[in-house]
Amino acid sequence: MTRTGSTCDLPRCSTCRLPSVRHADSHGLTAEALATLAPDLGGFRLVFANGHLVAELSTMPDPGSGVTVASLASVLATDPDRLEPLFAGRTAPADGMAALNLALADDGAFIHLATGAHADAPIHVVFCTTDVGHPVLASTHSLVVADPDSSATVVETHIGVGPLAGAACANAVTRVVLAPQATVHHYTVQDLPDTAFHLGVVDVIADHDSTFTAHTLSLGAAIARHEVRVHLDGDGADATVTGLYQPAGNQYHDHPVLVEHNTTNCTSRQIYNGVLDDHGHGVFNGRIMVAPAGMGTDATQSNRNLVLSDRAEVDTRPRLEILADDVKCAHGATVGQLDETAVHYLRTRGIPEPAARGMLTYAFATEMVDRIGPPALRAWAAQLVADRLGAVLGDDGPPPDANPDAGTGTGTGTGTGTGSVHTEEVTP
């Protein structure tokens, strides 16, 4: 059954006439096409085309196992009680796009880790935008629920089959709920066609002694806004929120980041690096919010930017709001250009200037690629980043020492210029 170009059919939105598609088919997405767009990470996989599950391209665990990987729509249809506590009693989202997402989304990923369950391989959620001949707004709402002592790696990939005839916008919300001692590593790889629009929110509630990491690679889309909000609500919870953005052409990559320290002894690291070229525009708008109860907070925030073009633009706002007095917080930002002495050094060894610049630019970006844990994902991401930067990857692999304790940040705040970059510090 196919109904193209229908408006959404929720009562509240019956008059909004937002473009959407409500297909039960694969939207032209084949296994072959998918294989060229996203790697097989070896674990369970959910594939969504324009916001709707493509069951034949998805692999899910057997029902009843400790790890549930399913589409939200199927859980809503078969076991709504399971979702009730996750939606009931929630206040309405403060921002319009999240509210719209809640109103319009009728599918997304549902990942549940039972107490003590460990997903061995990364769980891959692929959101693919395909050309349906008219503008499309794909709204997905995903849930990752980690019960006590469970762990998983969840990879969210936003890709598209270009070129897209009409405007395509993905509005993806992912909520992560961590119970005590749970661990979730969440990755977002956004490599949409440069004509698409991406709005993403990862909203996290972390209970005591849980560990959460969010790592975002913003590569594609015309305008992308990828927000990460972490509410550290339990004693001793830990969050690492990192990312790389590299807008070029006329791309705009916006990264609002909020980490709330709502209780005692929580730790958090924010590390975002940007490479900006052409007319590209990048934004890091990071906030650490320490509530009056946030005693013993240890939080840092760093944002480093490499600007390759005099027409590129970066806005960096590392912000601290501290309402408690026993805290350790640091933040800093740098904006710089390639180190010309390093460019010259490479050229004197026979490496042509464009390749030398590509090599140094990739070296700056590679720190964020090396933070990726799963090897298949890291290799794919390295290729995507290098392709976007016009750099050539060596098959010797990255230098092993280029992986500074992946997953945890460095302790000092004011960003020092590692990488072959001359930097100017930005006083927040």
Binding site: H344, Y345, R347, T348, G350, P352, E353, L360, A363, P398
Partner: protein, 255 residues
């Protein structure tokens, strides 16, 4: 091989080289000595094509080609190599990957295929043994966190792998202890051949005990003020640069 004529060069608006003349024949090793600030390193930078140095007059001909018209990478492809006084640290770029990219870039300009990785690693291992470099340096970032001696050995490793026809060594002895000096000098001597010329820039006579030059020139105030055989180094060691500087000062006073 190398013919430098009346070379004038400046950086940041200050003239450093004020008419350098120098001829190096194939297979010859020439040393340039001189006091601090005499323009020794500037000469090395100008020959390597560093963009922040401006040639205001004169010419440099290398194997019949106008060297100054070539981009730094073209000079490298033509066989010119500069061992830096201060090798640049490049975080995030693996040493061996860098070296292989360099070798293959130069090969590409000659229409040669890239060297296979396994062949390259064998060649690099051998060259590293020659300069007594730890194999762990292969996959570390270029020069990052290397000691002074390790950086200089890395320069000689690059020189060995790139097989230049004109090697310029800019104060390669600075910051080296006696053992490292011996290792570096052995590496350089191993590369001496009838086709390969070298220009060794140094402040001290010490290096020239190990790398024995055919000719020595003294650079002072941007000009070569004295040239001679290897015995000139000993003379300078005894008298220092004070005599030369005094001589220049008196000339300056009478000028």
């Amino acid at each position: 091989m190398l013919h430098i004529e009346n070379l004038h060069a400046s950086t940041a608006g200050t003239e450093i080289l004020r008419g350098v003349n120098l001829d190096i024949a194939p297979g010859e090793v020439h040393a340039i000595m001189g006091p601090n600030g005499s323009g020794k390193s500037t000469l090395a930078h100008v020959l390597s094509g560093r963009p922040d140095y401006e040639v205001t007059a004169g010419s440099v001909t290398y194997n019949g080609v106008d060297l100054l018209a070539l981009a730094p990478e073209e000079r490298a492809a033509a066989g010119v190599f500069l061992a830096f006084q201060y090798p640049v640290e490049i975080p995030g770029v693996g040493n061996l990957y860098f070296l292989r990219t360099a070798v293959n870039s130069i090969r590409a300009t000659k229409g040669l295929d890239p060297i296979a990785v396994t062949t390259f690693i064998k060649m690099a291992d051998k060259a590293m043994d020659a300069v007594e470099m730890d194999k762990s340096m292969k996959n570390r970032s270029v020069n990052e966190g290397f000691s002074g001696g390790e950086k200089k050995r890395n320069e000689i490793l690059q020189m060995t792998m790139l097989e230049p026809t004109l090697a310029i060594l800019d104060e390669t002895d600075s910051g080296l202890d006696i053992d490292a000096l011996r290792i570096v000098a052995n590496g350089v001597n191993a590369l001496r051949s009838p086709e390969r010329s070298m220009l060794v820039i140094t402040h001290y006579q010490r290096l020239l005990d190990y790398i024995v030059p055919d000719k020595i020139h003294v650079l002072a105030a941007g000009r070569i003020v004295r040239s001679g055989g290897k015995e000139l180094a000993l003379e300078l060691e005894a008298s220092g640069y004070a005599d030369i500087e005094a001589e220049l000062a008196s000339k300056g006073a009478t000028a």
